[in-house]
Amino acid sequence: MRIALIGNQNSGKTTLFNALTGANQKIGNWPGVTIEQKVGYISNGTHEIIDLPGIYSLSPYTLEEALSRAFLIQEKPDLIINIIDATSIERSLYLTTQLMELNIDMVIALNMADMFDKKGISIDIKALSKQLQTTIVKISALKRSGLKELVDIIESQTYIKHQTQSIFRPNVEKIIGHLVSQIHQDHARFIAIKLLEKDPIIESVGLDIDKWIKPLEQSYQQDIETIIASGRYDYIEKVKSQTFVRLHHGDHTTELLDKIFLNKWLALPIFALIMFLIYYISVGVIGSLTVDFIDGNVSALSSWMFDWLRNIGASEWSASLVADGMIAGVGAVLNFVPQLILLFILISLLESTGYMTRIAFFLDRLFKKFGLSGKSLIPFILGSGCSIPGIMATRTIEGQDERRISIMVTPFIPCSAKLPIIALFAGFFFPNYAGFVSFSLYVLSILIILLSAIIMKTFFFKGTPSAFISELPNYKLPNLRYTVRDVYDKIAEFIEKAGTIILMSSIIIWLLTSFSITLTYGVDVDESILAYIGRVFSYLFYPMLGDLSWATSVSAIQGLVAKEQVVSSMAVIGGLSADITEGNVILNAPIYAFFTPASAYAFMTFNLFSAPCFGAIGAMRKELGSAKKMWQAILFQTGLAYVLSIVIYQTLTFIGGLL
């Protein structure tokens, strides 16, 4: 049996999905966490269960809603589990009334049953089930209660089977009935109502709909969409009044916290402070510690490994491959794991507490001026972990232009892979101000995002209508288990990348640096193959580096593979170029001696804003919808990065000369 999991955004679908299937899909306390359907299995694989993006209605408004609706109509699942949040029961049942129109069996999972007492909610489940003619199971996805009962009902198929329900007033129902009799397709009632509503996707098959709509609109003095929507809510209110009692409304803790976090005067300063602390602590303070690690542990391990391999009789080249290629390259990246753990924990807290939606709410006004939406903030925050989920999260943005601009500027946020570059350079060239220099790059990225957005809005986008309509969820305490899981998954992915792509690239870089064009081993790095390749590019980088450095230039280009690779490549080349007894010293290597604070800052800037890694480019291609737009985005990003880093280098050098 195929089972579709359907419910409002942020209703706990994915939590239920994880609990039922044992999967570990990402959850969060903000609307729109799930953007693609996920498949899992229950009952030892006999039943397939599909987690769909959260929707409020079957009238597709955003991309995810269109996806969920298309799935229901075209894929025709055998059963719908409709998950309902009892704390916003009217809005939840609005979707239910639409699902009831489909010719598909349904079971309602009434979620957050553990909270009913606390919230003063009491529901007469039997009466509600009778009214809706649908089986209802009380569950708590988070506490994992009621799940066995839900699964039992599914397995034994003892749920109430689908039957048509008339919920609208008689004159509306009469027209629907008439239309249904003329539609010889599955889901006739659903199609009939959508036809009445003039749904843009459903085609009227030679039926004159207007002749039915006009008299209705006249008698109600409302347009047809309002009549249908009101009809649903009228029905829901009637059902609710007979089955549902709520003693106290609202969430006390949320109201209290919002008095502070949404306070007119405090909201923005608190937000700025929180963001500063997050990046100052994870990038600045811990960042300077990890840089010492690089010069310490990795170089020690690398030279120890080299000596050990030589002692057991390994040839010099093989010892160098392991020590200077593999360990130096991968180690340079793995050093940043402690700081990433901290960053990922902090991002996870922003997501799971419900604060992130608040930030989107109070920044909307500002962002809108620049052609973005308040919801663009969500891609930006997720993007500080990785651009790819950030770019995909733009799907919740309603305005087409705002969404496209957000996709193009999300890679400007320093992601976890760019963080090694920032931490390394800031720690080495600005040892006493590493935290502030790192933070200044985050500030710069925000400024550049706003600037780019306004440029794009002014010159490239026509100005399609935009809106900001979003639910504001209650605050929640983060669930420790999920935070740990979330952070663990991201770190595991980072380490896996270091062990695969970075390792392979490091070996290639070692090969290209250790051999000359005539394939002789052990030449001076300046005579190596890579040096020849790099010299071609070094002219391009001259205006921002002030030196024809082939080593730096080839490393920057490798950022396309993965941004961490910039650091890895510099480590491998630096280690090989220095006398082996010095160990791996990255920026201490003579080959990088030309760097000044000005060129270091310019180089960081270039890596930050230029084309993202291939993974993120792929995500941009997918979300922008065409290769042409993707190329435009890449050219824009790289062009901007190039000009900006040259301006920064020249200006800082000029100021430096004056001092």
């Binding site: 409020y56 209605s57 009238s59 408004y61 704390t87 916003s88 029961i89 009217e90 809005r91 609005y94 409302q222 969409e225 309002t226 929507a229 009101s230 809510y233 709520r246 409304h249 609202g250 919002d258 949404l262 306070n263 007119k264 005067w265 909201a267 923005l268 709410f361 109070f362 909307d364 006004r365 500002l366 809108k368 308040g374 309603e398 209508p465 809106a467 900001f468 309509i469 979003s470 639910e471 504001l472 969820p473």
Partner: protein, 83 residues
Amino acid sequence: MPTCDLQTLSLDQLKTGQKGRVIKIESTSKEIKRRLLDMGITPGVVVEIKHIAPLGDPYDIKVRDYDLCVRKADLSFIEVHPL
């Protein structure tokens, strides 16, 4: 005397903490109107202004027992009876 009852305002004219009963949604874009209806802003429903964002936009309104954020420009199309 009943003139007071007939007073109508657009939703963005209400103050924080004030409630109003929705009369109708005037024409904003078709999509936005549809979305507002789907989210529960239908004629007859009571809405309350909970917060206004520190920069003056958008608004956080309470409708059907949950919080919904909507921009001021879109609220100006919603006609209400202040309560």
